[in-house]
């Protein structure tokens, strides 16, 4: 009797967390998956809805607007992550040194990340304003033709805003990675005759790679889910030019009143993100397995 109780102890402690997880995570998730198989308008209880099988998924698959939205999302995610990685890592390499006031500078650099997305959206909307916006006024003063930021070049503009906000994320993670590199290996490379560039290319970047890959995947996952900034800046327009998936899901649910379709769309996004997450876990697992194998090899030698 007592031993049974003992065996149960861990599960008893585990229960509160499990209950919260089930209510907060699995219940809505299952509800969404269930809903994605039904024709469902917001005025209906889920019990009153009609089961349509995979019809929502199939019609989405053939929906050019959904494809367009998916394309925009991919374009957005790939460009922001690529540029942010280049800038973030570059900045980290530049600022990885002890000069006076560096801590202040670093704090300034990561400020954009701390601002609420809605505020960022509003701010950039003013910056991009066709007549009174900061950018076009500046272009006026230097005598260059105005740019139709949120019109003709809307996708580029939201990409710029996202880069402004999220480069710091990559910057601080890269900087942390850089500062934890083995200093003596870098010193050895200096003695071996490596120039600054050669140190970056042959030593720093390869050693930072594990952190960079995880950072990149995290950022990619995040970029697929971006909503607020774009919602505030362009509401997905003009046309569908900046209508990323998250925005389309929200509009399908609220404007088009098709909860089932919105749920199916969410599931597509979820599958995509799960693939990315799985890639990330596989990568870390591979690293661990490698480290283990190495340790075994060393022990076998001793």
């Amino acid at each position: 009797m007592k031993s049974t109780l003992n065996r149960l102890t861990p599960y008893v402690f585990f229960m509160p967390a499990a209950v919260i997880m089930i209510i907060a995570l699995f219940y809505p998730l299952l509800y969404m998956i269930w809903g994605s198989f039904r024709r469902w308008s917001p005025s209906q209880q889920i019990g009153e809805t009609e089961f349509v099988g995979l019809r929502n998924y199939i019609s989405l698959w053939n929906d050019p607007n959904f494809a367009e939205s998916m394309g925009v999302t991919l374009k957005f995610a790939v460009s922001v992550v690529t540029i942010e990685m280049l800038l973030g890592v570059g900045l980290a390499l530049l600022l990885d040194r002890n000069i006076r006031g560096m801590s202040v500078l670093r704090t300034l650099f990561i400020l954009p990340m701390m601002i609420a997305p809605v505020v960022v959206g509003l701010m950039w909307r003013y910056i991009y304003h066709p007549t009174i916006g900061t950018f076009n006024r500046f272009l006026d003063t230097i005598g260059v033709e105005r740019v139709d930021w949120l019109g003709q070049n809307a996708l580029m503009s939201v990409i710029i805003a996202d880069i402004w906000q999220w480069t710091p994320f990559i910057f601080i993670l890269s900087l942390a990675a850089l500062q934890s590199l083995p200093q003596s290996a870098l010193e050895a490379s200096r003695i071996d005759g490596a120039t600054g560039w050669q140190q970056i290319w042959h030593i720093k970047i390869p050693l930072m790679m594990p952190v960079l890959i995880v950072t990149c995947l995290l950022r990619l996952i995040d970029a697929f889910k971006v909503l607020e900034v774009i919602l505030v800046m362009t509401e997905g327009g003009p046309g569908l030019s900046t209508e990323i998936l998250a925005l389309r899901i929200s509009r399908t649910a609220t404007e088009f009143r098709e909860l089932g379709v919105a749920a199916a769309m969410s599931n597509y996004l979820l599958i995509l993100l799960m693939l990315l997450t799985a890639a990330m876990f596989t990568y870390t697992k591979l690293q661990e397995a490698r480290a283990n194998r190495l340790r075994m090899a060393v022990e076998a030698d001793d």
């Binding site: 003596s184 010193e187 200096r190 071996d192 490596a194 190495l294 340790r295 060393v298």
Partner: protein, 359 residues
């Protein structure tokens, strides 16, 4: 293979001075060991020589040419680091060939050099492995190999053996000694271990708090230490020190203290002409005690007998002073017993109590 001259080299971090002006000459083709306790400035000296730290004053000359403005790679040096500093992402062959590859050496030449050095160090079978797949001793060899492949004029070693276990350290020390004899290069070796210093160095530079205390061959340092610090630092087990006073007994000079009265031999006596103070610090090496009690003796209470095999080290007390005695293990000693030990009075060293200088 240059002659290296430190001319008033200084180093400060802000207002903290870690190295007061240092003058030092490292002769061509010599194996010089910088030895001293942690924080004595020996590693800083080496890093300044390597160009990894800038100097705050003075100048270093290689064969008369000032080099402080040169980058590490322009100084024709190779260095072995305490933590080996291997490149974790490269295999052993690539680790060893990194400098040559940067220098755009032809591939065939690189392969030949790496193979030759790897065979010399018995790491030829490890070339395809990554550093993480090697044991500590193997990594140590790779670090040496990486330096040797370079064929630089000067080799710097920054406590290269301190991360190894005792047995391996002894083995590597022997190999290093062999290497020292086979390679005609300048070698500068930093360590806090006086045994390493004594066994490896052609010349030893003893440092403390950034100041060179004495330099010389191992034998000079052992037999003729210039001051208390060197006397206490060099030699294992280390020298015993007691407070004593010089007394003239019937025309014969004695040194007396709590529980001992030892006559001084003629050579020591003549050295004492410069002494102004009668109060001195007496230094007796553990090996200067004998079981032969026909001459001068002291009564010592044995606290612990540390059996080391052929030799034993006795921890004894003379009054409140702890003294180490090195003896043959043939005569067993019991703890807690007080007995007489002879002293080789010609090996007694006397030091000025205020300056610490040898009298």
């Amino acid at each position: 293979m240059p002659e290296i001259v430190f001319d008033g080299v200084e180093k400060s971090y802000g207002s903290v001075r870690v190295l007061p002006p240092l003058d030092l000459t490292l002769h061509d083709g010599e194996f010089t060991v910088l030895v001293g306790p942690s924080g004595c400035g020996k590693s800083t000296t080496l890093r300044i020589l390597a160009g990894l730290e800038t100097l705050s004053g003075g100048e270093i000359y290689f064969d008369g040419k000032p080099i402080s403005a040169l980058e590490p790679k322009e100084r024709d040096i190779a260095m072995v680091f305490q933590d080996y500093a291997l490149y974790p992402h490269m295999n052993i062959a690539r680790n060893m060939s990194f400098a040559l590859r940067l220098a755009k050496t032809p591939k065939a030449e690189i392969d030949a050099k790496v193979q030759r050095v790897a065979d010399m160090l018995n790491i030829g079978h490890l070339l395809a492995r990554k550093p993480a797949e090697l044991s500590g001793g193997q990594r140590q060899r790779v670090a040496m190999g990486r330096a040797l492949v370079r064929d630089a004029g000067t080799f710097l070693f920054d406590e290269p053996l301190s991360n190894l276990d005792a047995k391996l350290r002894g083995k590597m020390r022997t190999e290093l000694a062999e290497m020292r004899d086979s390679i005609e290069k300048n070698m500068v070796y930093v360590t806090h271990d006086q045994v390493e210093a004594m066994t490896l160095g052609d010349r030893i530079v003893v440092m403390n708090e950034g100041v060179v205390q004495q330099q010389g061959t191992p034998e000079e340092l052992f037999k003729e230490p210039r001051n208390l610090f060197v006397a206490g630092f060099i030699g294992s087990p280390s020298m015993n020190f007691m407070e004593g006073a010089l007394v003239d007994i019937g025309g014969e000079m004695h040194v007396q203290g709590a529980g001992f009265d030892l006559p001084l031999d003629a050579t020591t006596r003549t050295r004492l002409d410069t002494a102004t103070d009668r109060n001195v610090t007496v230094g007796i090496r553990p090996s200067s005690f004998t079981t032969d009690t026909s001459g001068a003796t002291v009564e010592l209470r044995v606290i612990v007998a540390e059996y080391l095999g052929a030799q034993s080290v006795l921890v004894t007390k003379l009054g409140k002073t702890e003294l180490l005695v090195e003896t043959q293990s043939t005569a067993p000693f019991k703890s807690g017993v007080t007995q007489s030990f002879g002293v080789n009075t010609d090996e007694i060293m006397l030091f000025d109590r205020s300056t610490g200088l040898r009298l």
